[in-house]
Symmetry: D4
Subunit: 207 residues, 8 copies
């Protein structure tokens, strides 16, 4: 049944050589590939092979897997959450999606949310990814205001009781607003794949 699963490589647990080998093969065979959680050293090597690097996202990309597969909005609470939001953005684009970004809209300044939500209401978006660390409250607030599936991504940003992202994770799963589902800590990749599956289903219907 399953098809079109993204060729994605979790680079973190691999050596530079292993990663380069996979990249070379994909380039020569003209197959699209996305590397996530790329180390600095891996990044340099992949850049030399011509892959498109997004440093903040820690990704390297060759080609796209699909085209015009839908639209997703990505919210990030703080500037420290941006790397994870960018991993989601890179993955979504690799999967052919158009991405709307609203960064630095955390709950400490709730008024900063108003404009993005107005923009959002006018766009043809299928789902919303919300990236937040620390107390992870943003998805609750967004889901309380928006009538779309909210995919929450907790980040490991914070210290002390942030527990490397577990507090944000547990908060999001406890969201008092219904309409939120959650992926692993720092997993921008997974959120985008999930958003893509929603859009794929929406698009199928539209056709």
């Amino acid at each position: 049944l399953r098809a079109g699963k993204p060729e994605a490589v979790l680079a973190e647990f691999k050596t530079v050589d292993e990663v380069v080998e996979i990249a070379k093969k994909c380039v020569s065979e003209k197959r699209p590939v996305l590397f996530t959680r790329v180390t600095a050293e891996q990044s340099t090597a992949l850049s030399e092979l011509g892959l498109a690097i997004n440093e903040r996202a820690r990704t390297a990309r060759h080609m796209r897997l699909e085209e015009e597969s839908g639209k997703v909005a990505i919210f990030a609470a703080g500037t420290s959450d941006i790397p994870v939001a960018e991993e989601a953005k890179e993955t979504a684009e690799f999967l052919g999606m158009e991405v709307l970004r609203f960064y630095d809209v955390g709950v400490a300044g709730i008024h900063r949310l108003i404009e993005p939500l107005e923009v959002l209401s006018k766009e043809d978006v299928d789902s919303v990814i919300v990236v937040a660390g620390m107390e992870g409250a943003l998805p609750s607030v967004v889901a309380g205001l928006v009538d779309l599936p909210v995919i929450a991504v907790p980040t490991s940003v914070g210290y002390g009781t942030s527990l490397k992202g577990f507090t944000a994770l547990f908060s999001m799963l406890q969201s008092c607003s219904s309409g939120v589902a959650v992926v692993n800590i720092d997993n921008g990749f997974g959120a985008a794949v999930f958003a893509h599956l929603i859009s794929k289903r929406v698009r199928k219907k539209r056709l």
Copy 2:
């Protein structure tokens, strides 16, 4: 922006009187309402007011909030996971969805999954809810075989290292198959609301 949020009452932390009062008001005003995590005593009282009880699901329902809002499949790994699966089913139906159920299809007997997946591939389903306790492996296996968003619901079934559902929760968030998002332990309600938001978006597009 947000509209049509289900009128749902988490009965567990309320007294019988509080629950009865809400129910009476909805019945007299002809407003739809769904009670979840209903106690035995609450259940008896709500049944007398004419609400539709699903004992295994621990729900009580009055009317439906919407009609014909899409189709969802629900998988449950073991017989002990069925109450949570039924809470999802009741909620989905309250939200106007059609529900396909595949119960007792755990990973210990992987062959039992074949038929359900064949049925699934022929149905016009927008998303799949997978309910599992203990090691919580079923969503990974299903997401590896199906090209739809998988909403995983960990249950508190098990003993010892099940940690009242946390092991299943963490397994699901760690799923080696991408395309899985997760809701709180035993939160069949939340999974159905999320599935409904997906279907709502799909339906909007279709029209």
Copy 3:
């Protein structure tokens, strides 16, 4: 240095007899006393001795310790958080404070916060107590909008990843809004004592 420490009895770990004995002594000596976390059985016995019972708060009170010691606002996120908010209210009143209450103003419906905050801005309040369970996001939002010390009280309301209040506790300590300090889970009593110490200092200055 320390003076005027409230005569308060944590009844939970005491027998009915022990509690009754303390109460009788205070009544006969005309000394003010507050009992918190009172069991149903203790409550009946204390009521018979003429103490003022607040059932939802699980408190029993005889006289007041001080008069006109200041004003505090108490916010509660959900209806299930009200018992803890009421414990704070009873304690604050026992300490001679005036209490403004704003209940059921959780972050899922952020608009419900607007009116209370407007009221608040016109009142001569020294500090704000915010009671919230589940994801515990309300103190962050309030502290982002108010220029007063916010005393956050996490509650044990919720299931699964609420971890009996630890998720709310950790969220609050992680608050991305500065200006929040936290007391123990369900400790409405401690929040009110702290608010009272602030008001005491304010009042001293005013005179």
Copy 4:
């Protein structure tokens, strides 16, 4: 409602470039700014821009946000707790407060507390910040002796069962003396902001 929120930058999760850019802007615009949790490398760069560095506090400061906003006392239990106490001191001074410091007054030598408490009783202090790691007992002892709000700051000092500060945090939240509220582990900054909000309220009243 909220105003005068300190322009403070949590430097830890930012690059040297990002931090320098913010600092330059504030310097050229003559706007006060405080950097906390500054790395050694960031510190050097900020020092060259003329910011006032407190090495032990790991802070860099440009100007003050307010003047004469009140007085606070800071207690630190051990010498290893001093960096966190100094972060509180720097923040308080940035916010225009006068600071009384009493360091190395841990509970192992309870007699060392006597003199500081005598000094304290003669000063016009609005609140007390108590910084302690290991078993975190100092706030309980101080709050038992002082009639002011005690803001407790647990530190990550210790090994084994110190659990990187969680034991001190939980002890402080469990304090058998009422009148204690707590901020995040190592969060000297947050304690000072909270103390400032108290003093602000006191001062308002005084005027």
Copy 5:
């Protein structure tokens, strides 16, 4: 090598019948025996067999194992810690020790410690048992003032961050005063056995 190990029975995990059978045998054979963690039902049955019951301690005792084996002091922080302190007292007496008791001397009122410590300094005591729940700070304070081995017993008293005694346990193990060793949560029995082994060694030397 080992001899004179107390015949002690942890009654909690046994049925009434099992406990009665052991008691009967000891009574008929005139062998000393101590039952700890006795349930209400077991207590009634053992009382009928003529055993000496200490209700607060939850113990039942038949005869003594030794005579005049030394002296120990027992401190308890709060009234809720007394049951555990009494278990220690009963065990110590069963082992032939003389017991000095100082109850309700918690750190919230540090002055209450002065008199007990003066008494202590004049008595021929071999070790000190300190029982405390909540933040478990008392052993640190005592060990800072006394030149004897301090055996700390954390109790499960408290709520929220007391974590059923783990916070007190971890605090005690973290004690900034050296000279403290710790036994399991609520384990008054173990503390007394340990104190007895110290006294035994002391007595041996004296002879």
Copy 6:
């Protein structure tokens, strides 16, 4: 009773000198020895002494302890789990066992399991070692299909909710398929020793 316990050295907590000394002694005395969890530096030194290095397994080996002691199959879920699988392989071979390897057969692509299981059914294998990280689901699936003891080895591969292998460990202990026993996280060595004890017993019987 116990005999033939493998001379195996956990190198990780030892200095290069200590490890070299042991190796020299074994080489000169012609005694077999296996080093596990060898650091890069230790590896170089041991290689120079002529030991057989397996870099991925982080082992160094001199001779074999036994010969022809049976056959074991090793499954590994992902490529990142291979180092632990190789440690098991090296240990098994050191103990004289023949090893069948099936790597990269995780549950995300359940079809990849079919061929290995067919091969397995034709081989004279005494037990199966299954190495898996992340959600650790592979042992459940294998044990559901194979009629042999399954020894599960959780690995520390993953991030966020993998909890450094604890989620895989707890999942495996919760396996809904019976016939699974588990060793410590990353303990390929222990799994192979256990498999060897099974084979030893089988062989004894055969003779």
Copy 7:
């Protein structure tokens, strides 16, 4: 591949009715069945249907699944561990195994182990099950003395730091003696099924 999986029912999460229905069907069809973790009420009902009850084991059994399938030894550390040991014994016998029992042989009296180990060395046993709670040290000691696979079963016996069996579980997985594999807390059933798979393999070879 898999065959002969025991028809075993985990009764704990089922109603009396559900359990009775399964039992009736097995009895009428003359199919063997084993119920584990049976409640008192279920036990009475199953007894009336003629099933063999083992109260301490909390099992109910109808017929045996196999005959003469091998021999296993079961050690239990304390008397409180016997229920779990008996669950293992009942399961093993249901699977046709002969069982040697050695109870109350904990590490506090290491000499009590000598005789059982001598008996063991003369018996034709394929594996050893060791059941222990509290510190869970017995499997390490046994595995250090016996040349057979040791299947360790941690029990939830104890209080405080026993953590409902997790300390015993983690101890056993950490065993400094190799040759130990572990099953879930209180899972005597799983240990016996695993022992049976070993014996099955041994027997196959023998034939």
Copy 8:
């Protein structure tokens, strides 16, 4: 009351300069001092000042605090536990005690314990320190065989479920042998101070 508390410095959280300054002062004033948890760099500096370094113990010592204050035995389970045992030894000697050492006597080879215990029974020892990591079973076994107070020191040795020493800690607190008290993980220093307090009391009596 308290006197003769050892001048001991926990060097770990201090800079080289701070440590050198303290050492210089003690040397010039001829005051005894002990540094524990010394870093490599601190060690070199302190060595140059003439302090006695024990590298494995990570200590530096100047003079002794007392003379002939008693005798203590130290057991260590594995070679990796020796650094902590040596910290205890250095501290004990600094406090004037004579030390008997028995290393590498873990429970995996229980026979290795026999000789040490025979030696011990003939020596005039006041208490026994037992250092063990991994499953931490040694104190239980020793306390079951010896009639002296056993001070248990858990170490952070191990991986996976060793939880950096918490499993050993919890095991020791759970010891099924009574007569064991415990200090913090890796706290050889604290164990020796405690042993010294016992010996001090014994000696006082002897005189």
